[in-house]
Amino acid sequence: MRYAADPPAARLTIALDELVAIYHRPSGATHLLAPPAPELLDALAEGPADAPTLLARLSRQFDLPDADPQAIAARMEELVIAGLAWRA
């Protein structure tokens, strides 16, 4: 399963301490995201990717103590349901 997201310019992002508020311009909806959801959206800026690829992209920037493609897929499904990403 590959996932894709709108380019970063489609989102207005405000950091709220641990959370990130994202206004999604195409749908006019606002979302509150906890890690690792904002990081996953950032990782998709490079282009559509499946869970292992997203894991690889995140691992370039972060230490991932619980690296698990299934957890990535679960987080991505949440972003799909929210309308911030879609299955490509």
Binding site: P8, I14, S27, A29, L32, A45, A67, G83, W86
Partner: protein
């Protein structure tokens, strides 16, 4: 993340990808349990917003592919392809799309083409006419 607060538009342009690279240190990122949740959607409370979502339109097919037929699995093929369905006679509204997805066949559309139209809508990609309308329908609670 703190930079985003001060310069949200800049961070949108940069994709936020530079911020960690520029700090030169690696953060620890927990992915969380499979069953955990990390996204909350705030739905606009304005009734007019809900109305606009239900009245937005999805052309089937999108204008650059006008006249093409739609297969049962939602792909576009040449006009008059056997087994495929003719284009929708008019754009499907958000409300009608939701009914089709729920198995109903709104007036004015060939009931036999319903599944083809639904699959076409589900395959809509960003940049295709009607995608934003469909994406809005996906918002929780719609």
């Amino acid at each position: 993340m703190a930079e985003d607060c001060d310069k949200p538009e800049n961070s949108a342009e940069n994709g936020g990808n530079d911020r960690l690279a520029s700090t030169g240190r690696r953060g620890v990122l927990m992915l969380g349990a499979v069953a955990a949740s990390s996204v909350v959607t705030i739905r606009p409370a304005l009734a007019s917003t809900a109305a606009s979502v239900l009245n937005c339109k999805i052309p089937i097919p999108d204008p650059p592919h006008g006249g093409k037929y739609i297969t049962t699995d939602g792909k576009l093929v040449a006009p008059n392809t056997q087994g495929a369905f003719a284009p929708a006679p008019r754009p499907v509204t958000g409300d009608e799309a939701r009914k089709m997805i729920n198995g109903q066949s709104p007036a004015g559309f060939d009931p036999n083409a319903r599944q083809a139209y639904v699959n076409y809508i589900r395959r809509l990609q960003h940049g295709t006419s009607g995608f934003t309308c469909y994406a809005s329908l996906q918002m929780p609670g719609r």
